[in-house]
Symmetry: C2
Subunit: 227 residues, 2 copies
């Protein structure tokens, strides 16, 4: 007999990486309560009240019997230890090697240049005073040309070739590594110039978005991407 | 009787995050061969030859009996499974919760704004044409003021309070999470204005740098930070 499921409360930020945790909860069929936090319409940031739940004040935070778990990768590893989670987590061999790689690649490699591209894109935006906007936009393009696009040009082809050779990121079945990778790949397809050539990535996102658990996550949590 | 140790070859990039893997290898007393890759004196990047070892072309790469492991967090998890590694990896309870959090926090939260600060600092550097340098520097300061420093101002106090309450990042003894966190904390102390107030972080780095295994890693691999 397995231990009873802990009482789970997900603190979800709309249009953010925390959609991944919602999807994982649905994929595992766990019972949970969700508290959705809104972004401020101008700053696009959430309010400070999440700091009462976890001191760093970032999303997602999942509490289990009142204990707070944060950092998406870490929350997914915690969920993989709950009943049913073993199906989403290889335990040894080549599957485990690939699983661990992608669990860390998502934030350790791929999110860095995506974050930079988000910041450089704002340099040509309406929040920049109009008299410096042309030069700010030019600086943004220079950073992207020398850093952002070359980095993504190294990283994304490996994601693409992996997904062209197997249906899921760590092998033949869906794992937490697919969930961990989903946001960064969705953001890449949406933001990176020329990303339409990554057809295997697109097909993988389509497979994800067709899953009932993913659909349910979007239904209750809203769209994953900011824009 | 435990399985024999695999043949390990570390592809190390000088002055980079790969110092962490070198330190872990020394901490575990494993036998390994090291291949040091140099940065180009102008671009500060390594050459493309590492792509023959791992397609993404990033450091570190550790091969074990010819199989390539990449992403520092993933390599550290692999090493924790080798003989002796269990001492550096909590297996359950509160220790495991903290361990997983920091294993992901290092790259998932802390490295993002540090990466941005590295890029903004270059906007006032000699590679920027002199006639746009003042405005580029101003843009860099604006990004730092609105994004980089507020982010780090949320993140670093939690690292500090954790290390003020316990000697190592996940509890009473050194774990792979300390190794994973080391580079980002060293970089924070070196780069973030006002970081001298983080005395518990500084004391933790001092404890790390006093360890024979860390000293050996620096002796054979060179300094950890770029500058």
């Amino acid at each position: 007999m397995s231990a009873p499921q802990p009482t789970l409360v997900l603190h979800h930020l709309e249009r953010s990486r925390s959609t991944r945790i919602l999807w994982a909860l649905e994929e595992l069929g766990l019972t949970y309560t969700m508290k959705t936090h809104k972004r401020h319409p101008k700053t696009m940031r959430a309010g400070p009240e999440i700091k009462k739940i976890h001191p760093v004040g970032r999303f997602p935070v999942l509490t289990a019997d009142g204990v707070a778990y944060a950092e998406s990768g870490s929350v997914l590893e915690f969920l993989a230890d709950l009943p049913g989670g073993e199906a989403l987590r290889p335990t040894d061999g080549e599957g485990l090697r690939q699983y661990r790689y992608w669990m860390h690649f998502a934030e350790g490699s791929l999110m860095g240049p995506l974050l930079v591209s988000l910041i450089t894109s704002k340099l040509s935006g309406k929040d920049v005073p109009f008299f410096i906007r042309p030069i700010a936009a030019q600086i943004g393009r220079t950073v992207d040309k020398s850093y952002t696009w070359p980095q993504l040009g190294d990283l994304l082809p490996f994601v693409e070739s992996t997904l062209a050779s197997q249906p899921w990121i760590a092998g033949d079945s869906l794992t937490m590594a697919d969930i961990q990778m989903s946001y960064a790949v969705q953001a890449s397809l949406s933001r990176v110039p020329g990303a339409e050539k990554y057809t295997a990535m697109k097909a993988w996102v389509d497979r994800i978005e067709a899953r009932p658990a993913y659909k349910k996550a979007i239904e209750v949590g809203g769209p994953a991407l900011l824009a």
